[in-house]
Amino acid sequence: MLSAFLSAFRTPDLRKKLLFTVAIIAVYRLGATLPSPGVSFSNVQKCIDIMESGATSGVFSLLNLFSGGALLSLSVFALGIMPYITASIILQLLTVVIPRLEQLRKEGQSGQAKITQYTRYLTLGLAVLQSSAFVALARSGQLFSNQCDQFPIVPENTGLPMWITLVALVITMTAGTGVVMWLGELITDRGVGNGMSVLIFTSIAARLPSEGWAIKESRGWAWFIAVLALVLLVITLVVFIEQAQRRIPVQYAKRMIGRKMYGGTSTYIPLKVNQAGVIPVIFASSLLYLPQLILQFFDQNDPGPVQSWVQNNIVDPASWIHIVIYFLLIIFFTYFYVSITFNPTEVAENMKKYGGFVPGIRPGKPTADYLDFILSRITLPGSLYLGVISILPNFFFIWLDNNQFQNFPFGGTAVLIMVGVGLETVKQIESQLMQRNYEGFLR
């Protein structure tokens, strides 16, 4: 990986792209730490400190992870890239439901461009909604689960009428979302890698130094080095498995050409061991957040026996029951997601359509069955691996016996996403490098 970066630096073209990307990332981080107008920076910091010593899990911490800490601090880029992703998903869903959109999609590039424009408009619409929601939450104190009431995030005593501050807040955060969207597009267009992915990567990676330092502060150097070593091990494992694929050879018999020389290895279907990516983890986390959400409705200060049991055994990330449920959910969702997104029948149909077949297996149903068989066999280790990686941080909770590390970036989702993006970006760089290196071929 590293060699790719170094060679990229030497090529002036790619170097420009890399530097451009880094510059945009810097701008993004700047905006992510800049508090929105009307938000008191110092108060927010105090609240975050209080938060970190509480016990919560689930979606909020996930969201905070994605926004790189920007969310809870209500910075200008607080909403981050989420509105855009949400808007894309919504529009994709709508394409299935609304015939007009489906027709647009079929019209090729020009139609797609229109859909993209709708997505962008929707993104800003969502941004307005979400920022209003967050501002309301922040005002009511719910953002920090009512634990931070003595430090209002949006102070009242500024001399400005509150409604102006709030309006400015919402508008600024919306504009901020627009800027983030634009930054992502800039990276995709003139930088290196896919804009959205790079920004998410940045958000996650931004948490690393602070969290790592926190560990060192509380536990000393020995633990810190141990954690680091473990992290590197996990990263290596993830890199290895993410690249692992089972290749199914395919032959095409649509044309009459001499195919003697190529053997079978040039055409194949790559089935990844982890075909589902990081989605099952997200699904499982979200599902597991439900009990906590329900608990909120009950009286926090006087928990009955049921609530206590649920709190201690299901919500608490250090409890064994929680870990086991989480693990099982991940395995389930992996199979579920793979079965939805990889339809062996459809693939077999497509192969048949273009005259391809797996040597030794007849096209149509036999091929579909074969693909299904291989896929299920390979998804098992994939799902196990996903489960293990995801529950690692929970073990940390147990060992460290300390609920300080909420948004632990060293396991599960964080590592998966970071490695995923890293690999993708490196691949892109490599492929661009390849295209330019022809001087070396001429003696």
């Binding site: 905006g31 800049l34 508090p35 929105s36 107008p37 009307g38 938000v39 008191s40 920076f41 110092s42 200008v76 855009y84 992703i85 894309s88 590039q109 797609q112 461009a113 993209t116 424009q117 997505t119 962008r120 408009y121 800003l124 102070p155 005593n157 500024t158 001399g159 400005l160 102006i164 501050t165 309006v167 400015a168 508008i171 600024t172 919306t174 504009a175 627009g178 800027v179 969207m181 634009w182 992502g184 597009e185 990276i187 995709t188 267009d189 896919n194 804009g195 959205m196 992915s197 998410i200 990516g277 990081v278 989605i279 997104t341 998966l416 996403i417 995923g420 993006v421 993708e424």
Partner: protein, 86 residues
């Protein structure tokens, strides 16, 4: 500091936010696609940026800088106001 300072900044902020949003919407978004984790993997490359796009970029950056400055300014003002008052 005068409250009037804050008022001008806020109004300026609201205006520049609106303009900035409009400018960004005018860009011909290449969409940036979706990252491969969420199911991307389709690369679509439109033409290189034409002269108009470059102009648009310039204006966007300009407005963006003004916008940023407003926020920073307001942040400072807030700090002074809160600390001074409370």
């Amino acid at each position: 500091m005068h409250i009037g300072f804050a008022y001008t900044l806020i109004v300026l902020l609201i205006i520049t936010s609106a303009i900035l949003t409009m400018l960004i919407l005018l860009h011909r978004g290449k969409g940036g696609g979706m990252s491969s984790m969420f199911g991307g993997g389709v690369t679509s490359s439109l033409a290189g940026s034409s002269v108009a796009e470059k102009n648009l970029d310039r204006y966007t950056v300009l407005v963006g800088i003004v916008w940023f400055a407003c926020i920073v300014g307001l942040g400072f003002w807030l700090k002074l106001a809160v600390d001074g008052g409370s």
